[in-house]
């Protein structure tokens, strides 16, 4: 039996193509968990998911169970979800409010900040046993920006601010769409697909697929769920996004990219529909900027697992389960200070576009599944990311292109190669 020599990772990514094994090889997936998710800044939660003292949620980070917990002083902690006695998970609820976490096995009891508070029959552990030596282990580094909490399992490295760089500008825009400057995450919409996690990242940067993958969705109005006073008009198509007026793209920082959509139908910028929203935004930012903020339509992709989508007001978290199984959590965000009618319209827009019962993202998921199955042919090695044209560097340090381009995913794979090439 022939033994395949493990190619070094920098040989699996070329400037205009990547090797199929990135999507199919379980060993590569295992290394991704250690070298990407276990090393770089990874998004874990937005602070509005745990707004009150004692609030917590559980999740996984690089495949490891964690608790995101807010203590009595309002400080958020990221703790590994394993009792220091024998390792049992101390919390299995997806979210809630608790004054302590008690292990079900021998009742070792921890405070929301992770400190070990109580061990039954502690005397039997001997006089040298010190509670303070055995807290729930905190994740190495935790930092947040505008309420978006990131973690890194690497004890040292660039700060979150350094890592995000120019991306902070676009995170600001996402948050500033709320008249009060605060977004509130609601319960996530969860869906899955039988394919590799990178397919979702590739897709969010893909300016090419929409008119084909979403041909059926384009037969219905994109705002079919938004109440209109003037009813059905025209042929009800997405015509304004299928005229080959492709979105533009920008890249900046380590694998971070932003795709912009122009001239599309803007659900919330129509002043006739939500005049109260625009008025509230204008109060905070002035009329002109209010219209700009309300109509923002971009996908901000922060490698490896976070996507911000202002138009349908949600952030999307990628959860790799195995090399060919991925879960996506979509958190629709209410805009604080916006009228209820607008927030309800945003919830409807998220349901229509990005839920398991939706009519847009479901077709992407089908495409991802077909890629995963198609790659089983092993008939050829290199998947193409060749599209592009002129790229320029602007005054903000962004690399920009205004043509149909795969510049953004090429940036992802340069970052993939950089992280994976370090043992």
């Amino acid at each position: 039996m022939a033994v395949e020599i493990q190619a070094p990772y920098d040989a699996l990514v070329r400037e205009d193509s990547v090797h199929r094994r990135l999507y199919t090889d379980p060993e590569i997936f295992r290394d991704e968990m250690a070298r990407i998710f276990g090393r770089t800044w990874v998004f874990v939660a937005h602070e509005s998911e745990v707004p009150e003292p004692g609030d917590f949620k559980t999740d996984t980070l690089a495949g490891r169970p964690i608790i995101i917990s807010r203590d009595a002083d309002g400080q958020v902690h990221l703790l590994y979800n394993a009792c220091r006695h024998r390792g049992a998970m101390v919390c299995v609820l997806p979210k809630g409010n608790a004054s302590f976490f008690r292990c079900p096995y021998h009742a070792w009891t921890y405070k929301p900040d992770g400190k070990l508070a109580l061990v039954p029959s502690q005397y039997a552990l001997g006089p040298d046993f010190d509670l303070s030596d055995h807290p729930l282990v905190p994740v190495a580094r935790v930092e947040s920006y505008q309420g978006f909490i990131f973690a890194s399992l690497a004890p040292e490295g660039p700060s979150l601010r350094e890592h995000l760089g120019r991306a902070t500008h676009y995170i600001d825009l996402f948050v500033e769409r709320a008249p009060n400057g605060v977004v509130r995450a609601t319960k996530p919409l969860k869906y899955e697909y039988p394919g590799n996690w990178k397919l979702q990242m590739d897709n969010m940067a893909d300016n090419y697929h929409a008119e084909f993958t979403h041909a059926s969705a384009f037969t219905i109005r994109p705002d079919a769920l938004v109440p209109r006073t003037n009813g059905f008009t025209s042929n009800g198509s997405y015509e304004d996004q299928t005229d080959r007026n492709y979105p533009t793209g920008k890249t900046f920082g380590p694998g971070i990219g932003c795709a912009f959509y122009h001239g599309g139908r803007q659900i919330v910028s129509d002043p006739d529909r939500y005049p109260d929203y625009l008025a509230a935004l204008a109060k905070a930012h002035g009329e002109e900027r209010a219209r700009e903020l309300a109509g923002l339509h971009f996908h901000l992709m922060i490698y490896p697992n976070l996507i911000l989508h202002p138009l349908y007001s949600h952030y999307r978290v990628i959860r790799p389960i195995s090399v060919d199984h991925t879960e996506i959590n979509v958190y629709p965000c209410a805009l604080e200070g916006a009228p209820d009618a607008l927030n309800e319209a945003l919830i409807k827009a998220a349901a229509l576009h990005v839920s398991a019962g939706g009519q847009v993202q479901v077709d992407d998921l089908e495409a991802f599944a077909r890629v995963q199955e198609g790659l089983k042919t092993e008939a050829f090695d290199w998947l193409l990311f060749k599209m592009g044209g002129e790229e320029t560097d602007n005054e903000y340090g962004e690399r920009e292109t205004k043509v149909l381009s795969e510049m953004i995913p090429r940036g992802f794979y340069r970052e993939w190669r950089r992280l994976m090439a370090q043992p």
Binding site: K190, T213, I220, A224, L225, I347, K348, A351, G357, D363
Partner: protein
């Protein structure tokens, strides 16, 4: 017992029997409605399914089986009549990828309880499992349903259909029409 009392008892029994017959007939009528709706979905007669809805009808699948406002928990489906019509059009579109090939479904409905309401309306609660098979994969979507039906001449129309899945905390594959 005086003869007059005997007549009153007979009358009362007849009234109760008539009531029972009426409510029994109503239950059968409503059950038949639900089964016919299920058959239309399973046979992919989506245009006919759409005609079951009133023009002010809605179809809602919350992202939570608890009763919370959609603004707090989001929704998997939150359709007014126009959106239901759009959903049907998309499912029938030749390029709808999730429908190539279409899932084969069976809607299993049990535990039907009919609660007559005012204004020619009934509220019907039931349990449902939608079993969907597609491309070698079987998925199950168990949950409870609530239909608010309004009498419209000699037929019923759906004013509100709500399906609460008990799989809310799980990542879901793409949904068929539930």
């Amino acid at each position: 017992m005086a003869p007059a009392d005997g007549a009153a008892v007979t009358q009362e029994l007849a009234r109760r029997a008539s009531q029972l017959t009426k409510s029994g007939a109503l239950r059968l009528e409503i059950e038949r409605f639900l089964y016919e709706e299920a058959a239309l979905l399973d046979n992919r007669q989506f245009d006919e399914w759409l005609t079951l809805f009133a023009e002010d009808g809605s179809y809602h699948v919350p992202n939570d089986d608890d009763e919370v406002r959609p603004g707090d928990a989001g929704a998997l489906i939150y359709d007014d009549y126009r959106a239901i019509a759009a959903r049907v059009r998309r499912f029938q579109h030749p390029a709808a990828l999730t429908q190539i090939p279409p899932p084969k479904t069976r809607h299993f409905i049990t535990n039907v309880v009919v609660n007559p309401g005012p204004d020619d309306e009934v509220t019907v609660t039931s349990y449902q499992i939608v079993y969907a098979s597609r491309r070698g994969q079987d998925k199950q979507y168990p949950g409870s349903m609530e239909h608010v039906l309004r009498r419209d001449g000699d037929r019923w129309r759906i004013r509100r259909k709500k399906v609460c899945l008990i799989t809310g905390d799980k990542a879901l594959a793409s949904l068929p029409i539930l």
